[in-house]
Amino acid sequence: MNNSSTKNGSRNAGRTIDIVNKGLKRRYRKEKRFRLYGILSIAASAAFLAFLLTSIVMNGYSAFLQTCIRLDVPIEAGMIDESNPKRSDFQGIIKSAIREYYPDVTERREKRELYSLFSSGAAYQLRNNVLDNPPEAGATLSLWVLADDDVDMLMKGHMKRDVPESERRLNDRQLRWIEKLENDDRIEKRFNTTFFTSGDSREPELAGIWGAVRGSFYTMLVTLALSFPIGIAAAVYLEEFAPKNLATDFIEVNINNLAAVPSIVFGLLGLAVFLNFFGMPRSTPLVGGIVLMLMTLPTIIIASRAALKAVPPSIREAALGVGSSKLQVVSSHVLPLALPGMLTGTIIGMAQALGETAPLLMIGMVAFIVDIPGGFTDPAAVMPVQIYLWADSPERAFVEKTSAAIMVLLGFLIAMNALAVVMRKKFERRW
């Protein structure tokens, strides 16, 4: 009897085990499937990202090179204005140097076509060179001057040579002149320093991102300086000190709403309040920064409040329990613990602001600005606006500039995120 009961029991157990086993298989299959979905979705997003990045890089990398032409510039007596070298006719000197290289071009129209192979920036290059180390009369300067963007496009293969003349921007005669340069090894692609050192320009070969980078930098500085302290203070007050009542509920709802307001509305607000009412200067990092501050503030406040909420209440209890005041609890326990989260929120907000265009259009930061801004109240462009402007330009050469500018912007975003990670690590180690 005893025997049979154990048998019975074991048989029962066996059956349950079978059921469990059967179930197990299904469970494992389910888990495997789930994991597969996860891997697939990650692979899909990675593929999109890779596609995006390669297309940008493929389009943009050539912008980091610029076609230059080596021009021998003979300096004759009287060419340089001795009393005031700045006032010399550098354009004329360049032209005469070009004519010297192509002695058989004499007709006016042909000459104009010939000059147009060289960038108008060539005269400035010569000017800078002469001003830096004044040449003696009779010397010959050998300069790498910028080629015109059409020549640049031709050299980079964006313009075909073997299509009918009417379908390209350079005619056969110009092609022959370029071939002469090629045969003499006087034309080559060199690293494009102009792109990294100048502001915007109507001439693609003279246009650079530096003005926009500076503009973005000043704008972000204003945004950060305003939104970080205000955002953190607001979050700490709302989370730690404010009484929980209708008024604070109302504020909370409004903050959440503000986070969802289309950014162009902030631009309109900036236009109405800061430009029209307070009369602040148009197109400047100061106003741009304030407008972007309005836009990032909700993000920072929400992220900071979440970070504060995530600090376990037991830490507060512990600190209160040994007799800390509320402020001491917040400043020496809660804030240090919440800071990494707050920083992450801030950097996300800043990254958003860095890429924002719409509100800035409203306050005139979309203007064509050649000068590199030197401060918060100089008219400036910012990187995304610069990208927008270039993407809108008809010249073929601006296509690669657009992609290159996107690469620079992405570079800044990556740098900012890396900074966030580093800062987070640093603050985490302190505890």
Binding site: E317, A318, G321
Partner: protein
């Protein structure tokens, strides 16, 4: 019975009127002096979480310099009552109190009471260990620093003394600079005890201080209570009947928010007045 738990229905309050109090029979324990002055006294004191009354109209005096144990089944309001004494429940938005709770003749929930001062006076060790995510040294030194101890030497001495009292010194003396979160659960709990001792409070609230400890560490904590007896007012929540009877002079028994019985420990454990108390301590339910 002089010290009684008044169930909320009873209106004739005996316990809280110290003028009427006679000298009660000392528990069978030579260190318990006769009589006593109330240190904390509750009068119709209730604690609510929203609509839920977690502690119901408690009337009781907690006597100065005695050890009082609080026992009762899980969820009966022991922690809530304990946290009510140093206003830790203020952190919970839905929580409010009615009735009065006096400490040293001052209304704990009075409008002008400074809760920072109060909490310095009434130290607490929480049910779950909650060390600061700082070094062991800073954990202990934080309170004294807060209250003005600047001198490094004094701080070091204080840290060592507190850690020794909490039976943790030998285990951590070589790694005071390490993060306290690296300690085991039991060590963390003893660290919390040491942290509370370092501020030198008048009243010690211990919420199951030994529930995460092994027998050896438990014995050390009990030794500590033994040592502090007579100089501090101690309230200890415990699920361990033996512990309650070992360390306490008085015992409170809570059941579903009611203070059912409050008597000298010996009396409560040997001759409980209430049927529920008897059922509980004899383990007929839990």
């Amino acid at each position: 019975m002089q010290i009684t738990a008044e169930k909320k229905e009873s209106t004739t309050s005996v316990a809280t009127e110290s003028s009427k109090r006679e000298i009660f029979l000392p528990p069978d324990r030579e260190r318990v002096r006769e009589g006593g002055t109330p240190h904390v006294s509750a009068k119709n004191f209730s604690i609510f979480y929203g609509n839920f009354e977690a502690v119901k109209k408690v009337n009781a005096d907690i006597l100065s310099k005695y050890v009082t144990a609080i026992i009762g089944p899980s969820g009966c309001g022991k922690s809530t009552f304990l946290r009510g004494i140093n206003r830790m429940n203020d952190l919970i938005p839905s929580c409010y109190t009615t009735g009065t709770l006096m400490c040293d003749g001052e209304d704990i929930y009075g409008r002008y009471t400074d809760e920072v001062q109060l909490r310095k006076k009434i130290g607490m060790v929480f049910q779950k260990p909650n060390p600061f995510p700082k070094s062991i040294f800073d954990n202990i030194a934080y309170g004294p620093r807060l209250h003005g101890v600047k001198d490094k030497k004094t701080l070091e001495e204080l840290v060592e003394k507190s850690l020794r009292k909490a039976a943790l010194w030998d285990e951590v003396k070589d790694r005071l600079e390490r993060n306290a979160l690296g300690l085991s659960g039991g060590q963390q709990q003893r660290l919390c005890v040491a942290r509370t001792l370092a501020v030198d409070p008048d009243i010690l609230l211990l919420d199951e201080p030994t529930s995460a400890l092994d027998p050896k560490a438990t014995a050390k904590i009990e030794d500590l209570i033994e040592e502090l007896r007579g100089s501090y007012t101690i309230l200890i929540v415990t699920h361990n009947m033996q512990q309650a009877s070992r360390v306490s002079d008085y015992t409170m028994f809570y059941y579903e928010g009611d203070l059912i019985e409050y008597a000298p420990t010996k009396q409560l454990f040997t001759n409980p007045k209430d049927q529920v108390t008897e059922d509980y301590i004899t383990g007929r339910f839990s």
